[in-house]
């Protein structure tokens, strides 16, 4: 896809400047009846304009909680940010007041949710809900807002937008609803979009339509995109760089090509080996043994050690840092990090 190649070049150029968004050493806890669940445990990542960062992880890995914290929509309590910074254009959003954050939310950073049917209000027409963005943030009149809503629906290619602007969410198909969610996120031309599993509820053919639309609009507006997903296929299609999360930590970051070609963390390696491929019929699938950890009692040392094939005593006692990764000659690989004591063995075989 050509749009992606262009993005690569763009992000390469912009990476020199300040990134749009930087998450630094973020910690989020949930206080539950059974104890404290450490959902996010020192996460760092950044996105530049025009760049697509994919955050990959299974349920309970903390990928959605991180996103909700960035948006400022995390339920607090029970959630609590205990440490860290979220810098938007260099300003820490966690230190801002409610009014200031509200100006950023929706206008500068917008979010697309997984389930479009439950994210749209069933008793309001889609036109009204789209127009709300303009009425609330820009003080537009009802008439102006409706016109803008039609324009937006056109942009995300909903056929007969003018006739359908008064329709209700249930009158649209799943793919159409997700387009409306995208339209809503795009309405104020934000700098950054966070898409939380945007296509998980959709069929493959519709998924392809929606992902293409998203990539195209991203290139058009030169937006940053954080794509949160568990689908390794979708990630390979659109991402520039990837952060793999496990039990509230980032375990590996890498540019997309290098991660798939040569993973530097046993978890990533296991994930890649455990998915059946459409283009090749395998024998028995490799399966990562065991289950994702309970966040109330994360194993000591490396959280992945009970499921890891290569774990040593060191892994059971000491939590690995996110190491810089070097190639065989000791040259540092840009953008690559691995939180494994044995990254050398994993990467170089």
């Amino acid at each position: 896809m050509t749009t992606v190649i262009e993005n690569d070049q763009k992000s390469g150029r912009l990476e020199v400047g300040t990134p749009l968004l930087e998450v630094k050493d973020l910690h989020v806890e949930f206080h539950t009846r059974d104890g404290v669940a450490k959902a996010v445990n020192g996460v760092n990542y950044s996105v530049a304009a025009g760049e697509t960062l994919a955050v990959l992880g299974e349920s309970g890995s903390g990928k959605s909680v991180t996103a909700q914290t960035i948006m400022g929509i995390l339920d607090m309590p029970p959630g609590k940010v205990t440490q860290g910074e979220i810098l938007y254009r260099g300003q820490d959003m966690l230190k801002m007041g409610n009014e200031e954050r509200r100006k950023i939310r929706g206008q500068k950073i917008a979010m697309i949710f997984q389930d479009a049917l439950s994210s749209l209000n069933p008793v309001l027409s889609v036109g009204y809900q789209l127009g709300e963005m303009f009425r609330v943030h820009q003080g537009a009149s009802k008439k102006e807002a409706k016109e803008k809503a039609i324009e937006l629906m056109d942009r995300v290619r909903i056929p007969a937008a003018r006739q359908r602007v008064g329709d209700y969410p249930h009158q649209f198909s799943g793919g159409m609803r997700q387009r409306i969610m995208i339209a809503m996120a795009l309405s104020l031309e934000p700098d950054l979009i966070i898409a939380d599993e945007p296509t998980t509820a959709l069929d493959v053919t519709v998924q392809a339509q929606v992902m293409d639309l998203l990539a195209e609009l991203q290139a058009e507006y030169n937006m940053g995109l954080i794509l949160i997903t568990h689908d390794l296929g979708v990630v390979a299609d659109v991402a520039d760089k990837i952060a793999v999360m496990y039990a509230g930590r980032i375990v590996e970051t890498a540019p997309v090509h290098e991660l798939y070609a040569n993973p530097a963390h046993p978890y990533t390696k296991g994930l890649l080996r455990s998915i059946p491929r459409l283009d090749q019929k395998g024998q028995e699938l490799y399966a990562i043994k065991g289950l994702p950890p309970n966040l109330l009692k994360v194993p000591t040392g490396c959280a992945f050690n009970p499921r890891c094939d290569v774990a040593t005593d060191l892994c059971r006692t000491e939590t690995p840092e996110l190491h810089h990764v070097t190639d065989k000659d000791g040259k540092e690989l840009t953008g690559r990090r691995s939180a494994c004591h044995l990254w050398k063995e994993t990467l170089h075989g």
Partner: protein, 338 residues
């Protein structure tokens, strides 16, 4: 092919749409399954793929006799089971079991694992006499890779993957010959999916099971299936062995479906040829005339609107690639499997 254990002939399931309050009259029908035929051999896995709304889950329900077929036959070892009732139906049902999609809602939260897996024995006491049931359930737990000591636990004490194992154990309890799996792994995490798929494969060779494996994930279907059937709007549009479907797809819908699947390999993304289908799947209450796919097909001509294409081996296909496809213009696309 070995002798089929299950034969489905021209199976139809229509849900009537009625109008009026006092005098209900039928004004139409949702044609969920509209004339489907296929065979399933012993020890074979038949994958069924298609988008939501194509009728694949309705097909499963009709095969299980949870829904009555409007017309057509389902032959289990030569006997038509679609019209059975009472004792005769009960006897046949033992042989066809189902594993459901959502392991969170398909297990009763108020029953212990032992009661859930042992419940089939209440209905079919001949399989395990009362005194042996606890032992039988513990054996099943062991077979699906769970600790037999968990017999008194409740479903909420298990993770998603473990719950799906409980669902599989329940399906195995009556020693069936056919298991219908309706999206058995789609609710699970990637790393757990592989475990469950491996378990299903291992159980198949151990107990000589036949599977009908319904899923929307084409990569998983390819991995587990011997043969694959592709459904669109209540019809089977193409059926063949996995190589025939994945490497030599001839129906435009199958080609589009395959091209849309994201491949976990970023090096492939620049040279992939994607077919992006426009529009959505039409309503099964009012399907297009002729070929049902024509409204989204790039090959459609006048003939497609008039004449319903039959599921047959197209004349252009020869040799090992020959398989059935319901398209007037069936041909293998160059580099179809991107």
């Amino acid at each position: 092919m070995a002798e089929p254990i299950l034969e489905v002939k021209d199976l139809v399931k229509h849900y009537p749409l009625s109008q009026g309050i006092l005098f209900k009259k039928q004004v139409g029908a949702v044609k969920a399954v509209d004339g489907i035929s296929f065979d399933l051999a012993k020890g074979e896995t038949l994958g069924i793929v298609g988008e939501s709304g194509c009728g694949k889950s309705t097909l499963a329900k009709v095969l299980m006799n949870l829904e009555r077929a409007t017309s057509g036959q389902v032959l289990f070892k030569g006997e038509d089971i679609s019209k059975l009732s009472g004792q005769a139906l009960k006897a046949v049902r033992r042989n066809i079991q189902m594993v459901f999609q959502d392991p969170y809602t398909s297990l009763n939260p108020r029953m212990t694992v032992g009661d859930i897996i042992g419940e089939p024995y209440e209905i079919h006491p001949e399989v395990a006499p009362k005194g042996d049931r606890r032992k039988a359930v513990q054996d099943l737990l062991d077979v699906v890779g769970l600790n037999p000591e968990y017999i008194n636990r409740y479903p909420h004490q298990f993770s998603g993957g473990q719950r799906q194992r409980i669902g599989i154990a329940r399906g195995l309890a009556l020693k069936p010959e056919i298991i219908i799996c309706d999206e058995p792994v789609s609710a699970l995490d990637v790393s757990v999916q592989a475990q469950v798929i491996n378990l299903l494969e291992q159980l198949q060779s151990e107990f000589e099971l036949s599977y009908m494996f319904i899923a929307h994930d084409l990569s998983i279907v390819r991995h587990i299936s011997d043969r694959v059937g592709v459904m669109y709007l209540g019809k089977m549009v193409e059926i063949g062995t996995d190589e025939q479907i994945y490497d030599n797809a001839t129906h435009p819908y199958t080609q589009a479906l395959l091209s849309a699947v994201p491949v976990p390999d970023p090096t492939a993304r620049e040279n992939r040829e994607r077919i992006i289908l426009s529009g959505d799947i039409p309503s099964p209450a009012n399907p297009p005339s002729g070929c049902r796919f024509r409204t989204r097909c790039w090959k459609a001509e006048d003939r497609c609107a008039e004449e319903i294409p039959l599921l047959a081996v197209p004349s252009v296909l020869e040799g090992p690639a020959a398989h059935e496809s319901a398209c007037h213009f069936a041909e293998v696309r160059e580099s179809a499997a991107a």
